[in-house]
């Protein structure tokens, strides 16, 4: 039986030439709907491995992520997570102020049993992190 997977390093074209890339602390493959579910806390794991997003709430890449993947505005995303938090369903994504801090986090979490991942416009994969394979 043939099962063909078209993995590609994220192809979510935006209005400009900028393309969203996802980087993780360990090798990770995700379907696009899994990405959305992870960002919204609807699923917390992939194949029984905890997967947790990290966000840069003020960045342009975050706005693009919300528009192209999560389908919510920044305000809606924030309110969604307040609801999840104060009903105990899930904890919000970890927030950072700079990409540098996020990549340091990803590098430092290589040995953990769970996986952290992050969305960026950055084309070149930084050392010590992995690029997420995103399926259709």
């Amino acid at each position: 039986m043939f099962r063909i997977f078209f993995f590609f390093f994220l192809t979510l074209p935006l209005h400009s030439e900028e393309v969203l890339h996802f980087y993780s602390s360990a090798p990770l493959s995700l379907e696009k709907n899994q990405l959305r579910d992870l960002y919204l806390g609807r699923i917390l794991d992939v194949d029984k491995v905890t997967v947790r997003p990290v966000v840069l709430p003020t960045g342009a890449s975050h706005k693009a992520l919300l528009k192209e993947v999560v389908f919510k505005t920044a305000s809606q995303f924030k309110r969604h997570w307040k609801k999840m938090l104060f009903t105990g369903k899930a904890s919000p994504p970890a927030e950072f102020d700079s990409e540098k801090g996020v990549f340091e986090l990803l590098r430092s979490k290589n040995e953990e049993k769970g996986i952290w991942f992050f969305c960026s416009f950055r084309k070149e994969k930084p050392d010590g992190v992995f690029e997420v394979e995103v399926g259709k």
Partner: protein
């Protein structure tokens, strides 16, 4: 007992935090505090003496949650609340459950969980999660919060992608509800029957929530229901308080039966920063004299039972709906406008001011900072139906207003 449970659960959370040294498996601590000022004209509504202005609407919650394993999660929240004569800042376990996911999409929560009814019931206390100050009072009356907020039992949940046709969500819940002694309906029975020890024993509740979300996430349609069943105890020296020639003492655990059914249907449509939503609620409460009580009374007075079946006559089977438009600015400002209507008794004419209550509501939200929120809300009501809440001061003027202001802080 409840304080003891809260303490034990908090201790477990702290202990788990020490055991799992991994940074992201440590428990998360969050909380909120809010103070509301409420002022009505011409009659009291929601809170006793609201017509004179009241600050007796305060909440503080402390929340701890964590995930020791990928598919296992615990979460609990202690709530300190004052709402008029209810609460008095006594700590209560707002929710506390263990969540086990069977697959990525399906799981079960065991413990005290929020009751998923409509789009707002589950989140009615989550002030930072919405634009409006009060949840829509026609569909989610704040006086009935103790009855509808949570269930001690099971919550089975799941969602399923429908291959290009959006996503289906389902929740099934069942268990028991615990009703505090200061619930307004308990107080009302105590007063009506001169029975200071009356308690409502909310034993069983069950229901479901079904939702469908469009592929782009902009449209949500949902339907939900809950069926509740319980009993009311009575301990009075004279059930009829002088209305009959004989004295009828009654001491009985299940003197009245209490059954409540509620059905809510609605939708949300989002376009950019705008959201249009509507909901319809059919609410059917029923309080009846038990056969044991009837037999006891008949035995004393030696004649037919002098009252009908219903303890509270003529106020059952109500319905309500609202239409709301919200604007959620990317900056700190947000606003909402809504129209709602509530009919307290379907059998009576809706033109009767004491049987209906329509409202136009304006809401404004300002995020002072990431954690601090200020809200203001103005309701203009027409009609006096007040969902069997506090007496409405016998003022016959059917037009009245409610103004509310709130500051809340969450972290």
């Amino acid at each position: 007992m409840l304080r003891c449970c809260c303490g034990i659960l908090l201790s477990i959370g702290v202990f788990l935090g020490q055991v799992w040294s991994s940074e992201w498996l440590k428990p998360n601590f969050h909380g909120f505090i809010s103070q509301t000022f409420l002022k009505t004209t011409k009659r009291d509504f929601l809170i006793k003496d609201s017509s004179r202005g009241s600050f007796q609407y305060s909440e503080m919650g402390l929340n701890i949650s964590g995930a020791p394993e990928a598919r296992y999660r615990y979460s609990l929240q202690t709530l300190f609340r004052e709402f008029g004569e209810e609460g008095d800042f006594e700590p209560t376990l707002d929710f506390g459950f263990f969540d086990a996911r069977v697959t990525e999409q399906f799981g079960v929560r065991v413990g005290k969980v929020r009751m998923p009814l409509g789009s707002q019931n589950e989140f009615r206390d989550v002030d930072p999660g919405r634009i409006t100050l009060l949840p829509q009072q026609s569909v989610y009356p704040e006086s009935f919060r103790p009855l509808m907020i949570s269930v001690l039992g099971l919550d089975v949940y799941g969602h399923k992608e429908l291959s290009g046709f959006g996503e289906a969500n389902v929740r099934l819940f069942g268990g028991s509800i615990g009703i505090r002694d200061d619930f307004f309906f308990t107080q009302r029975i105590r007063s009506s029957f001169n029975s200071p020890n009356t308690e409502i024993d909310g034993r069983r509740v069950g229901g479901a929530w079904l939702g469908w979300e469009s592929p782009d996430g902009n449209f949500l349609a949902h339907a939900s229901f809950a069926l509740m069943s319980g009993s009311i105890s009575l301990e009075t020296s004279d059930m009829f308080s002088g209305n009959l020639a004989v004295t009828v003492p009654v001491t009985m655990d299940k003197a009245f039966s209490l059954d409540v059914a509620t059905y809510i249907y609605g939708f949300e449509y989002r376009r950019g920063d705008w959201c249009l939503s509507a909901e319809y609620n059919h609410f059917q409460p029923s309080t009846k004299y038990s056969e044991d009580l009837k037999n006891q009374v008949v035995g004393v007075i030696g004649g037919p039972f002098p009252l009908g079946d219903e303890v509270v006559n003529g106020s059952d089977d109500s319905y309500a709906w609202y239409l709301e438009l919200t604007y959620d600015h990317p900056g700190p400002l947000g606003g909402a406008i809504s129209y709602s209507d509530y009919i307290s008794n379907k059998a009576r004419p809706s033109s009767d001011p004491s049987n209906h209550r329509e409202a136009i509501t304006f809401s404004l939200r300002y995020d002072v900072s990431e954690h601090l929120i200020a809200k203001a809300e103005f309701h203009r009501f027409s009609g006096r139906a007040a969902f069997k809440t506090f007496a409405t001061n016998n003022n016959s003027d059917e037009n009245w207003t409610l103004s509310a202001f709130r500051m809340s802080y969450s972290f």
